[in-house]
């Protein structure tokens, strides 16, 4: 039952006569069937949150605490979904509180919540108000400005978005220059387009597609940031600009389906763009490649002998229920031995990059004992794996930093699944 507001009741009421299932249970102790004293708190902040479109479900929290052990931020700090409700109840203004920027929208609390208190809706709704009021942590502000002006978070030249293509070693159709109909529109994404290690994955992807004879094209300088993490960080206006722009760009070209490198784009195109008129068949690259595993097996020429553990991206796993495609792809690679971390699949830990966390590391540092990515890398090392395999472009940079920060340089390397596939197909190892 949605409950949008809380009624403040003066004092505690008792029923003079209470009959429950035929039994007379009248007495002072029946006050528990009436308004509980817990409501005797200021309700303004809670009402402000639950009055927002998307903020309603916070009112449903009954403080059971199931979210506490699964929240990746709670594990390394004092933030916790249950506490968000409790603090609001005590009058802490979430709109101005650091808690507002700590949630990575990883969705593990929603997974276990018996009341469906949905932080994936609540946090962006409250953040949107904060952003409108100009309350944005500086590093996030810089990212918003970069994305608005250049279409990528790092503030790189939009003209250079497809520069990685030159070193891919295989032909890549850049649609603005060669607008032919293609089977697959590959949305590369900002990190694979600009980040040095992201570009390694982009080149590997191009080579794998080429080897498989995939008929694909990319958007080059016309591709702009998808905006999903921007939306979750509260800049809905910017998200709308990006969505409208990308939808207009997609409409210019003929393709059958979109394949994305990253789970955040996957979430944007699959779940959110349809609300803005952009409906597409969207596949994460692991889902796109999974049916081709038999062919890949025939084509593999090299063993990639290593013990690998896999980090489930929140936005592929929990948000979209895809846990198997990346694992099947990994297990198809000759020589790969897959070992799981204790926190995996539905309960996979979060790298800390989602929901704007990618651009809040120095902010978050003040409120956590340990970076989420550092924690995750320790977990990976404990499995005895030599390779931490990922399939989200946020993660390579995050985990590579974490490997160094935790002193595990030389023990663990971070590689995108596509890089391992590419290597097994005979490409020289990069990165």
């Amino acid at each position: 039952m949605p409950r949008t507001g809380l009624d403040k009741v003066d004092g505690v009421l008792e029923q003079e006569v209470a009959v429950l299932e035929g039994m007379d249970i009248s007495g002072h102790w029946n006050r528990m069937f009436e308004q509980r004293v817990v409501w005797d708190y200021p309700t303004e902040i809670l009402e402000k949150i639950t009055g927002l479109p998307g903020g309603e479900s916070l009112a449903w929290c009954y403080q059971c605490g199931k979210c506490v052990p699964v929240c990746p931020v709670d594990i390394v700090g004092d933030y916790g979904p249950r506490k968000v409700y409790r603090k609001a109840q005590l009058g802490v203004d979430l709109f101005r509180d650091p808690d507002l920027w700590l949630c990575t929208t990883c969705m593990n609390c929603l997974r276990v919540c018996p009341k469906a208190v949905d932080m994936i809706q609540i946090m962006p709704a409250v953040r949107e108000v904060a952003v409108q009021e100009g309350q944005v942590p500086p590093e996030l502000q810089k990212t918003f400005q970069n994305i608005a002006k250049y279409g990528n978070p790092m503030g790189e030249s939009p003209r250079k978005r497809a520069e990685w293509v030159k070193d891919a070693g295989v032909p890549v159709t850049v649609l603005p220059a060669d607008p032919r109909p293609v089977d697959v529109l590959w949305y590369v994404g900002s990190y694979p387009s600009y980040h040095p290690r992201g570009k390694d994955a982009a080149r590997a992807m191009a080579r794998v597609f080429f080897a498989l004879g995939v008929d694909f094209g990319i958007l080059g300088h016309e591709e702009w940031e998808d905006g999903d993490s921007v939306r979750l960080a509260g800049e809905k206006g910017l998200f709308e600009v990006l969505a409208e722009r990308n939808i207009r760009t997609f409409a210019k070209y003929q393709f059958r389906r979109i394949v994305v490198t990253g789970p955040h784009e996957y979430n944007a195109f699959k779940k959110v763009y349809p609300q803005y008129g952009g409906e597409y068949e969207v596949l994460h690259y692991t889902q796109f490649l999974e049916p081709m595993i038999p062919r890949l097996r025939e084509m593999f020429v090299r063993e990639v002998r290593c013990r690998v553990t896999f980090h489930d991206p929140c936005y592929l796993g929990r948000h979209h229920g895809e846990y198997d495609a990346p694992r099947r792809l990994l297990q198809a690679i000759p020589g790969v031995e897959l070992v799981e971390m204790p926190r995996c699949r539905e309960n996979g830990y979060c790298c800390g990059g989602g929901g704007g966390g990618m651009w809040l590391d120095s902010f978050t540092r003040d409120y956590t004992r340990e970076r989420l990515s550092d924690r995750r890398v320790r977990e990976a090392v404990e499995t005895g794996a030599e390779v931490l395999a990922v399939c989200c472009p946020y993660e390579v940079s995050r985990f590579e930093d974490a490997v160094k920060a935790t002193g595990n340089d030389g023990k663990l390397v971070v590689r995108d699944i596509i890089e391992l596939v590419d290597e097994a197909l005979g490409s020289p190892r990069a990165g």
Partner: protein
């Protein structure tokens, strides 16, 4: 009380700069524009003055690709008026710019005029000083904070020197102030607010006539040249020294 912020756009260094065919200027057609960072600070200082004293903030920006965005962003941040100056070519130079601002300022009205102390395009840093000369007003440059007393028609401004020394000056208003940095980092303008204002179309335009002003003639614009590779002189020290002397002499770098 009117605070006017005189801004300009400068080439965005995110893109490679191209030199024109004559080799005397940038290729302006290839330039991506961005608000001069110092002007962004001048705007922030103006908005802080508005918040503390209720001043009315007007932003002036010469026409360029991207000027509209700058104007509406300024409005979204809290500016009251945003005016595009038309009729100025890109890279107009400090003198022309100051003359154009001085033409329109009387009709706009001003008590304090803020402008960035310099800009990356020509690193000339003269707009504020020239403007104050043209309008007959006092000028303080490299300002890092402004407080105004509208009733006394006075401003107290802070200037930062090397070595961490800060100077506080009192200046009669109206005055022109060249801003080095605002008291706070420039604020964020939510995109939805900028878009809403764009739909409302509140920004104005004023024509500025390009005055005939003296300007230094540019002889050549070029990239720093990378020379040929270094030459390593081999052999024992004396032999190498003799070679070095010979080379220096050969190139006319040695006076005996």
């Amino acid at each position: 009380m009117d605070v006017v912020v005189c801004c300009k756009l400068v080439p965005d260094l995110v893109e490679e700069l191209e030199v024109n065919e004559a080799g005397t200027d940038l290729d302006w057609a290839a330039v991506r524009w961005v608000l001069n960072e110092f002007d962004d600070h001048a705007l922030e200082e103006a908005l802080l003055l508005k918040e503390s004293t209720g001043a009315r903030v007007t932003v002036l920006v010469p026409e360029a690709d991207g000027a509209e965005e700058v104007l509406y962003t300024a409005l979204a941040k809290g500016a009251d008026r945003a005016i595009r100056l038309t009729g100025l070519p890109p890279g107009a130079g400090s003198r022309a710019l100051a003359a154009a601002f001085s033409q329109v300022l009387p009709s706009v009205g001003y008590d304090v005029i803020l402008t960035g102390v310099q800009a990356v395009d020509d690193v000339d840093g003269q707009v504020g000083g020239l403007l104050s000369g043209m309008l007959g007003l006092p000028y303080v440059g490299v300002v890092t904070g402004v407080e105004v007393d509208w009733q006394a028609r006075r401003a107290v401004v802070r200037k930062e020197y090397a070595g961490g020394v800060v100077e506080e000056l009192e200046v009669d208003l109206p005055a022109v102030l060249g801003v080095q940095s605002a008291r706070k980092p420039p604020r964020y303008a939510p995109v939805s607010k900028v878009r809403q204002l764009m739909r409302e179309g509140k920004a104005e335009a004023l024509p500025a006539e390009l005055p005939a002003v003296p300007r230094a003639a540019v002889r050549r614009v070029f990239r720093p040249q990378t020379d040929r590779r270094a030459q390593i002189l081999q052999g024992p020290a004396e032999q190498a020294a003799a070679q070095l002397v010979a080379i220096l002499e050969e190139r006319g770098l040695l006076r005996r």
